[in-house]
């Protein structure tokens, strides 16, 4: 899958990302939202809340809950995907929730839930990373207090080479797929999974490669948020005021 020039099927170098486009605040009715195009992936994320947590028995009097629902739309893949939750989407929902829960200041919203909905409109490998990337932008767009924005990428191994950001073909016929999410500033790992086999050395190499790419994605995420709220001028004077 890698030619004599070291280029991959779609012409990328081993440490090259697919083109990524991020847009924040695309949905009017949600509290926060984001849309990500990542190569041929198209992912939409919406955030509601913090809002009263239902069912009530899930409420935590000490902190809020971050609940994510990852869903692939029926037409997101070439063979119609049977709608509804399955083992894979339940797993992805869980890992995204857990990654986000760590960065949100949940203790500021006791007894509430923050609901994140990730919808995959078009899939081409790496949707959990695209989903998490979109979800964290949507959370920030919803004005939720959080430690940092979370960038996420996948690294993998094809033809005995460690490469960045697998696409569909590479994912299907490659040797390993390692999705990861980090906090760039601190280097904390929020998500690290591995499907396939790699040596320890390769994993270390892959991790470093992913870490570097995460920085790029992080910048894109920040840029998307800043574009959304491009400040034309400045005001601060007209602040303050009580009722009536």
């Amino acid at each position: 899958m890698i030619d004599e020039n070291g280029l991959r099927l779609d012409g990328r170098k081993s440490n090259e990302l697919r083109p990524i486009k991020i847009e924040a605040g695309v949905l009017k009715r949600a509290d926060g939202s984001a849309y990500v195009e990542w190569g041929k992936n198209k992912v939409m994320a919406a955030v509601y809340g913090p809002r009263e947590c239902h069912p009530r028995h899930l409420q935590d009097p000490a902190k809020g809950l971050v609940r994510c629902k990852y869903n692939m739309i029926a037409f997101s893949v070439s063979d119609r995907k049977r709608p509804g939750p399955d083992r894979r989407s339940v797993e992805i929902s869980k890992i995204i929730s857990e990654a986000l829960e760590y960065v949100v200041f949940t203790e500021q919203f006791p007894r509430t839930s923050i609901d994140v909905y990730v919808e995959v409109l078009q899939a081409n490998a790496g949707t959990r990373c695209a989903g998490l990337t979109a979800a964290s932008v949507a959370l920030a767009d919803a004005g939720i207090p959080m430690r940092d924005i979370v960038p996420s990428v996948a690294v993998g191994k094809i033809d005995d080479t460690v490469v960045l950001d697998l696409n569909k073909e590479e994912d299907n016929f490659g040797q390993a797929d390692v999705p990861m999410a980090i906090i760039p500033r601190t280097g904390e790992v929020l998500l690290l999974q591995m499907d396939g086999h790699m040596t320890y050395g390769e994993l270390q190499q892959a991790f470093d490669m992913g870490f570097e790419a995460a920085q790029t994605i992080y910048d894109l995420q920040k840029d998307a948020l800043k574009r959304r709220y491009a400040v034309e001028g400045a005001v601060d004077e007209e602040e303050n005021g009580e009722e009536e």
């Binding site: 509290d31 207090p145 430690r147 924005i149 709220y229 400040v231 034309e232 601060d236 007209e238």
Partner: protein
């Protein structure tokens, strides 16, 4: 170009859009709202605008849900009744009970429906918020009452200070042009009453403020709009 003008340019706080995780300060200032501290460094925890005021760095949020604070005046909607309390929706993640002791009337046990019913709208005040964010509202203060007639619109609570304007200048202007009675709740609900056409103009002006909240010369532009409708006073 007067000296005065130049001075204002210099003194105006730097307006910088920050996203969660942005470094705001490395220890000279104190951490204010919308920030958090790690190893003495202050970072933004919310998407918003950085503002430095009397040695505190704050992030003025651009969105987010309304979180009740003690003493806020809010516009609430009755959503449920109990024998000794009403449940009021204050447009926040937390429902707010209004106890019979906190209304200006003497209410018999079980007789709550006679005074306020589901769907009624109140001007009320947040009495207390405890550490698990349990909220109570009160109506036992002058000016707090049931609101009858009129219309309600919702805006983002972060835009409320803009709608009110410095020292109430913005809202005062809208009121005097449109001749409406207007109450702005801290929770982003606005109640308006008056001539129906004037209400529509007032709502348009408020929507304009909401959309252009972060731009300059807002008061002047709203004034221009109102003058285009009502002619200059």
């Amino acid at each position: 170009m007067t000296n005065d003008n130049i001075n204002r340019e210099v003194q105006r706080p730097v307006r910088e859009l920050v996203v969660p995780g942005d470094l705001l300060d490395t220890g000279k200032l104190k951490a204010g709202n919308g920030t958090y501290v790690v190893d003495g460094n202050i970072y933004a925890s919310q998407l918003g605008i950085k503002s430095v005021r009397s040695n505190y760095v704050n992030v003025i949020p651009l969105g987010g849900r309304y979180i009740p604070h003690q003493g806020d005046t809010v516009i609430g909607k009755v959503i449920d009744l109990g024998p000794s309390n009403w449940l009021v929706d204050i447009n926040s993640p937390y429902p707010a009970p209004l106890h019979v002791n906190e209304v200006p009337w003497r209410v018999e046990f079980g007789d709550t429906a006679r005074y306020l019913y589901v769907g009624d709208v109140l001007l009320s005040k947040i009495l207390i918020v405890d550490e698990t964010k349990r909220v109570q509202v009160t109506m036992k203060e002058p000016g707090l009452r049931k609101l009858q007639g009129g219309q309600i619109i919702d805006i983002s609570h972060s835009k409320v200070p803009r709608v009110i304007g410095k020292g109430g200048s913005m809202i005062q202007m809208i009121k005097s042009y449109t001749n409406c009675r207007i109450f702005v709740g801290q929770n982003g609900r606005i109640w308006l009453d008056g001539e129906i056409d004037n209400i529509v103009y007032a709502i348009r002006a408020i929507r304009m403020i909401e959309e252009e909240a972060q731009t300059m010369r807002l008061t002047e532009r709203v004034k221009e709009y109102l003058e285009s409708v009502f002619g200059s006073e």
